[in-house]
């Protein structure tokens, strides 16, 4: 404790570096939900979390909530071990199982789980039992203010909106200053301005506190806005782990690729390996397109899948000259549409590529369907993917 208090006095950047290396949450969890009709589900994860934001990212039903519940002590794992700040809170081997209320965990549930009989203010005060009244008043007042829910203070949860409830739930957890924070899609019901305000608050808050925050989300925007690290979970297993850009921009797993929005995923066959150049040639789809990708441990002739982000594809209206990019593919715009300030063009080059542009670029190039264009893809934008598990 003393160490962490001291650390808040040092400069934020220094601190982040040291904190990065200090693992504050370590978990190995196995849990099986069997016996339910239909398929059964089994969770088997092992990960370490330093101070700061760690995003738990994965599709619906992947086991994110179950993981958080096990850490909080709400669900008992079948086997495993959980350490919070070097304190053993669960260990199936030595039969340690620290009670939920003593784990010092802040938890925001996927449904807000506010106490229906208490006003918003009393909900927020709930966890401040031992805190002196003056301090308590101050903390509650501050958080009501910063989450813009002061006007709701005397209302019951029943008569506020869903987004308001979510803010109250988040405030209720934060106000207790937990040692670790588990957030299960805490902003799913919030609009963009409210979301970014709260995200900003959370970041600022954690710059001072430096506790580990495990944050579940589906939203890629939130991953990049918050995430210092990402854990990708799929069917109960951690399938990728690392910095957001490493994990989501260069995914090895096709499922991660889908989650991360690899709009272009092609079946491919390795045509040649160029050891000296560090590249290899892949034939996409029926063999119509030849692509240079970074060299990988595969055999010539192997069937692979290649993912390319739509945003990594450059588009030109004339054949480009004097470019470093090895892959230039000619094609025709099949369709072009604007979506959420981004322009998505579908270009047929034998296979159909999705290409992402800014509206400004579209206008300056005067792009329209039917137009002849050239796609430019850098070698390092081509990602070899392991095939997805059967769905």
């Amino acid at each position: 404790m003393g160490v962490r208090e001291g650390r808040t006095l040092s400069s934020a950047d220094d601190e982040r570096e040291t904190a990065r290396n200090e693992i504050l949450l370590e978990a190995a969890i196995r849990k099986r939900y069997a016996g339910s009709p239909g398929s059964s589900f089994s969770l088997d994860v092992r990960f370490a979390v330093p101070a700061g934001f760690t995003i738990l990212f994965g599709r619906s039903g992947a086991g994110k909530t179950t993981t958080l519940e096990a850490i909080a002590g709400l669900v008992k794992p079948d086997a495993g071990k959980i350490l919070l700040e070097e304190r053993l809170v669960y260990d199936s081997a030595s039969r340690v199982n620290v009670d939920v209320s003593h784990r010092g965990v802040g938890y925001v549930f996927q449904d807000s789980a506010l106490f229906p009989h208490l006003t918003v203010e009393r909900n927020i005060r709930y966890g401040l039992r031992g805190v002196p009244e003056i301090e308590r008043k101050k903390r509650v007042g501050e958080i009501l203010e910063s989450f813009r829910i002061g006007a709701l203070a005397l209302r019951l949860p029943r008569v506020i909106s869903a987004g308001e409830r979510q803010r109250v739930a988040l405030a209720r957890s934060l106000v207790t200053r937990p040692d670790i924070l588990l957030l299960d899609e805490p902003l799913a019901a919030l609009d963009a301005p409210a979301k970014s305000r709260i995200v900003e608050d959370l970041r600022a808050w954690n710059r001072v506190r430096r506790i580990p925050i495990l944050y579940v989300t589906h939203s890629r925007e939130e991953v990049f806005a918050l995430g210092e690290r990402v854990l990708v979970i799929e069917r109960g297993r951690i399938v990728a782990e690392g910095l957001p850009q490493d994990v989501l921009e260069a995914p090895r797993e096709e499922t991660v690729a889908q989650l991360a929005g690899f709009e272009n995923i092609f079946d491919a066959r390795i045509a040649a390996l160029h050891e000296e150049a560090g590249t290899m040639t892949c034939l996409l789809n029926p063999g119509a397109i030849e692509i240079e990708a970074p060299l990988a441990r595969v055999e010539t002739g192997a069937a692979v899948r290649v993912g390319i982000r739509a945003g990594d594809v450059l588009l030109a209206t004339e054949p480009p000259r004097g470019l470093s990019a090895r892959n230039v593919i000619e094609g025709t715009i099949e369709a072009i549409e604007e979506r959420d300030f981004r322009v998505l063009a579908r270009v047929n080059c034998g296979a159909t590529f999705a290409v992402l542009l800014t509206p400004a670029a579209r206008r300056s190039l005067g792009l329209a369907a039917g137009q002849r264009v050239w796609l430019i893809v850098k070698t390092h934008s081509c990602h070899l993917l392991r095939p997805a598990a059967q769905d």
Binding site: Y107, D111, F115, Y126
Partner: protein, 224 residues
Amino acid sequence: MNWQALELTLRLSCLTAAILIVLALPVAYWVAYSRRRWKFLVQALASLPLVMPPTVLGFYVLVAFGSSSPLGRLWQHWTGHTLAFTFAGLVVGSVFYSFPFAVQPLVNSFLAIDPKLIDASRVLGASRLATFFRVILPLSASGVATAIALTFAHTFGEFGVVLMVGGDIPGVTRTISIDVFDQVQAGNYAAANVTSLVLLAVSFLILAAIYAWNRRAWPRAPWA
């Protein structure tokens, strides 16, 4: 109108209801939240005082209180007299008899609470006990009201056990129900009618107060 009997009965009913709530809360908590597979047996057991005819139950209570039972002798050793024929005896008998009415409504209310709320409380650092008093109990207001209303009313009208255990001693164990029974037995129907009306009026007021209080407790219903 025997006001002394009325006052005695009110005292008995309130005391019994109060004791029962205190006794029933932990039992109901256990029944609601235990993971034992056989807890339904405990539930059935807790309902058993009901199935005995009250006078017969009273008889067994009398035997259990008597000088030939260990319990009766222990009590006699402490207090100098048997538990029977005292106000304390009435209270014990009534508590035993009305027990099922206190437990079951509480169990139902506890079970109706969203488990997520209990999790939320625990995660916020509240102990099991604190969670019970700050979340479970307030959310069980209607169960508590029902338990109080039923045990109160049941004790108010209780007759068989009181008759057996009490010995009908004026001011000590002659409750209003025994009084009106005596009047009927003696053929004083007019007096019995008056007493019955007073009895109904008083209990109606008290029950209405209990239910009105419950209505005011946080309303969960769609119209509130």
